[in-house]
């Protein structure tokens, strides 16, 4: 119980830090983003009334005579109501609408790709670590190269080979544009078809990290006493590998998801850009290019909250697989 409370408290602190960071950064930056936004808003035919000005000022600072503390409190209030302001690049859609449209694409893509690369990487790493001294060792330097490859470059290469040269997969996009999004088979298969290369990019670039980490832990676990005991017990090698070595060696990898998830999300933002994937990463870059500060901040918040949430889930799962965390008191 204490473990869960500690974790929950930690993520609340992290969430507060992210919210505060989001509030502070624009106020520390040069220039006057509010005026830029309002000018853009006017260009798009939005009404530049005091209400619009105030909502931007809460997000970005500057302008009014309101104290920082009261701005901060109103800002927090807005965020918790889900009011993230108006997007000027997608006017008149509010930021929350833009995010709601693009987030599912990214969650599904990154979620599936990450799960896949985690599972395959862990399984291969366990095997390579257990069978060290065999030809499988050659996988180690190979994956080292893979994990040093920049995501976007790998994406470019995959596009060049499988989309441009061979024509097996589409060059870009998340679905065939002649279809209208919906839960029908045609649309889903189109989405899967379009998502294959982006997912492959994420899987290939992130699998090396899991594999290497798992392999090293497996090598350590193989020399633990409980493995020797299991051997003395006359258990089959496969059983020792899975039930004893892997079961123990996987713990640090699961605990390390927190560190890796940030990298994966970062990588997938750039990957989305290469494929013009309709996810939240592409939207973030569009927002940056269009100086759509409200959207930019909203997306940053949502990405952060999503990563924090995923980490919390992983931490809770961790408690299930490591009985030692469940110690009370």
């Amino acid at each position: 119980m204490r473990y869960y409370l500690r974790k929950l408290a930690f993520y609340l602190v992290a969430l507060w830090a992210a919210l505060t960071l989001n509030f502070v950064i624009p106020r520390l930056m040069p220039g006057n983003p509010v005026d830029i936004l309002l000018a853009k808003l006017q260009l798009r035919g939005g009404s530049v009334d005091p209400a619009a000005r105030r909502s931007f000022e809460l997000l970005l600072g500057g302008g009014g005579d309101e104290s920082v503390v009261s701005q901060y409190l109103s800002y927090l209030g807005n965020v918790f109501r889900g009011d993230l302001g108006v997007s000027v690049s997608a006017f008149p859609a509010p930021v929350s609408q833009v995010i709601a449209d693009s987030l599912p694409w990214t969650v599904v893509l990154v979620g599936i790709a990450t799960l896949l690369s985690f599972l395959v990487g862990i399984a291969l790493g366990a095997l390579v670590g257990w069978k060290r001294g065999t030809w499988l060792d050659a996988l180690v330097p190979a994956t080292t190269v893979l994990s040093a490859v920049p995501y976007f470059w790998l994406a470019l290469i995959l596009v060049a080979v499988f989309a441009s040269a061979l024509g097996w997969f589409p060059l870009l996009g998340g679905y065939d544009v002649v279809l209208s999004p919906g839960w029908d088979a045609e649309f889903l298969s189109s989405a899967i078809y379009h998502g294959t290369l982006p997912a492959l990019t994420i899987v290939v670039s992130s699998i090396g990290g899991w594999l290497l980490g798992m392999r090293n832990m497996m090598v350590s676990a193989a020399s633990e006493d409980y493995v020797l005991t299991a051997q003395a017990k006359g258990l089959r090698d496969s059983r020792i590998m899975i039930r004893y070595a892997t079961r123990n060696a996987v713990l640090p990898s699961v605990a390390g998801v927190a560190i890796s998830l940030g990298f994966v999300v970062s990588g997938s933002i750039i990957t989305e850009q290469v494929f013009s994937y309709p996810g939240i990463g592409s939207k973030l870059l569009q927002a940056v290019q269009n100086n759509d500060y409200a959207l930019m901040q909203g997306i940053f918040l949502v990405i952060t909250v999503a990563v924090l949430g995923a980490n919390l889930v992983v931490d809770l799962l961790y408690a299930l697989i490591d009985p030692r965390t469940r110690v009370t008191g």
């Binding site: 490859v149 995501y151 933002i269």
Partner: protein
């Protein structure tokens, strides 16, 4: 339970410094070669390749002739561009790597050394920074800074700020463990100033880790910067490999199949990152020596072994060890067990005594072929004489036969049961494993009943079957181990220092039970310990080992009253005497309590 290996750990003196340097290996060679070549290219290249920005009217020329790697859309030479871009990427990578390492050292080392609230705050801060995704944050910051004001320093600082947290966490964990080491405590007691303790005692020991974190930070920085530049959010005044890829992407290099424009820059990043990772492997091996390239395979039994299974002796032997030799192969082979011959009789307790490193554990492991390379059985024979009349040549068993032999005929109880049980699996599952493997015909209910039965035998409440090892006391864990060893009703049990880590009262209780089981169940015990007085108390016969040889073998009584070998006398004298008599640890003058006292 330490696997006795004569490969000694490097001392802190002369070899200590050598241990801080990576061992030469092909991986290290290739890694250093890649880094060296690319660094050289980045440093010297720009001096010889000419102007990277010179525009020619030969846009997108394929490689060949004057332009080895062709030209860009505007006819710029790709080689020249790469040379300058490599320099730019290396510069920012080093800069960020350095800053991030310093930041992580401050938060990781200083925090954990200071301890208390400072540590709590620093660690909380690092962890929060760790879970907030870096690149989105960098993108947002870069988005707020107008392009004209985005210099390479701005980018470097932002990358450093978002990239130090993972290292800080690793450094903190290591510092915490170093902080509690004896020599650090000694320095503190001696009144050394805090900064001196950190710089003199802690930092040098963290160097390999710091080096590996620095390498990691450089790789990360180069990759992040490349990503940022690729998105068009990099420093406006510098050209890096990421910038090159940005122009390639926007110049439709992909669509025009101008592979020479976008493949080489990424390749340089990948190869450089790969080189650094390979070097990191070697550094990791210093930090964790287990990772060194020792193949994990079963211990070898010499091919040309004289296999002459022993005759079944007239004295009802259950296990015969004949002329067994075990050698730790290496540059200087170490003969850990030298021609040992022993006979274990049915139902007897044979003590094996000797000081640490005398080869007794090596001998015990070799009997069950649990020895690991570089240990190798070079000569001898181990024969198991089954109750049913068959004899088994243990050293000659095939892998599958050996697996079936283990635990059914011969089980083991190891020292430190803390680690002999897997910490993440319930005790019941670890007992059940044995039954599912060796008794595939048993039903789930039967297996459960058998587990309950052995738990009751060793005096542990069967309700504890569902417990995990960390929920049991040391004594209970050892009883669980014994229960596990009893599961298949084996004929021989090898016990390696089974009670050494326990307090005297618990130890005594467990010993009494072992004696009781021996009488009730009739298995023979090979009992290994450095504690000769204890052996005198429980054993029927005792073998004294020294430097891999059995120097004396006799009944407990003979050994106690009339030790022949000077070493046996020495061992007996080395134990504290409570009564003034030699071996006075044993209360009274009766040498072996099992002749009457204990039962």
């Amino acid at each position: 339970m330490t696997n006795p290996s004569p490969v000694t750990a490097p001392s802190r003196t002369k070899d200590g410094r050598r241990a801080m340097l990576p061992r030469w290996s092909p991986k290290l060679g290739v890694g250093l070669g890649l880094i060296g070549a690319i660094a050289l290219f980045g440093v010297v290249g720009p001096l010889v390749v000419g102007d990277p920005n010179a525009v020619r009217d030969i846009g997108l020329t394929a490689p060949g002739g004057e332009h080895w790697l062709g030209t860009t859309q505007t006819g710029q030479d790709v080689v020249a561009q790469i040379a300058f871009a490599t320099r730019g990427s290396l510069r920012i990578g080093l800069l960020v790597g350095l800053m991030a390492t310093v930041l992580s050292a401050v938060f990781g080392i200083v925090g954990s050394y200071a301890g208390g609230i400072v540590d709590e705050l620093f660690s909380l801060f690092s962890n929060v920074m760790l879970v907030i995704p870096g690149l989105p944050l960098v993108i947002v910051i870069a988005g707020f800074v107008p392009a004209a004001q985005r210099g390479s320093w701005t980018i470097a600082v932002v990358l450093a700020i978002t990239g130090w947290a993972a290292s800080a966490r690793v450094l903190r964990a290591q510092t915490l463990s170093l902080r509690n080491r004896d020599y650090v405590a000694a320095a503190k007691v001696a009144g050394e100033k805090t900064w001196r303790v950190i710089t003199v005692e802690i930092l040098p020991n963290l160097l390999p880790l710091l080096a590996s974190q620095f390498v990691f930070a450089v790789v990360l920085a180069i990759l992040s910067e490349a990503g940022l530049s690729f998105l068009g959010l990099g420093a406006s005044n510098s050209s890096t490999l990421g910038t090159m890829l940005y122009y390639a992407q926007n110049g439709f290099a992909l669509q025009r199949e101008a592979w020479w424009w976008f493949v080489p820059p990424g390749l340089v990043i990948a190869l450089f990152g790969c080189g650094l990772s390979l070097v990191n492997f070697s550094i990791d091996e210093i930090i964790n020596p287990k990772l060194r390239d020792v193949p994990r395979r079963p211990g070898k039994v010499a091919e040309a072994l004289r296999v002459t299974p022993a005759e079944r002796g007239e004295d009802d032997a259950v296990l015969t060890v004949e002329d067994l030799s075990v050698v730790y192969q290496g540059d200087k082979p170490v003969h850990a067990v030298k021609g040992v011959s022993l006979t274990l009789r049915r139902g007897e307790i044979l003590g094996l005594a000797g000081e640490s490193g005398c080869g007794k554990t090596t001998l015990a492991y070799a009997v069950n072929r649990l020895h690991k390379p570089p240990a190798e059985v070079t000569s001898g024979a181990v024969t198991f004489h089954d109750r049913d009349g068959t004899d088994t040549d243990v050293l000659g068993l095939g892998p599958e036969e050996l697996r079936e032999f283990r635990w059914t005929k011969l089980s083991m109880v190891f020292q430190g049961a803390m680690n002999a049980l897997s910490p993440v699996t319930s005790v019941a599952a670890q007992l059940d494993d044995v039954l599912t493997t060796h008794r595939p015909g048993m039903s789930r209910a039967d297996r459960r009943a058998r587990c309950v039965e052995v738990f009751e035998l060793v005096g542990v409440d069967p309700a504890r079957l569902g417990s995990f090892p960390h929920e049991l006391s040391g004594g209970m864990r050892q009883r669980v181990m014994i229960a596990m060893a009893l599961l298949l009703d084996p004929q021989v049990m090898i016990m390696d220092e089974p009670t050494t880590a326990l307090d005297v009262v618990v130890q005594r209780g467990i010993l009494l039970e072992i004696l009781k089981f021996r009488d009730e169940l009739g298995f023979a015990v090979l009992f290994i310990t450095h504690d000769l007085p204890l052996l005198l108390e429980i054993s029927d016969r005792i073998a004294v080992m020294r430097d891999g040889e059995v120097v004396e073998l006799g009944t407990a009584q003979d050994l106690h009253l009339d030790p022949r070998h000077p070493y046996t006398r020495e061992l007996l004298d080395s134990f504290p005497s409570l009564t003034g008599d030699r071996g006075g640890f044993i209360r009274g003058t009766e040498p072996a309590l099992h002749d009457g006292g204990v039962r």
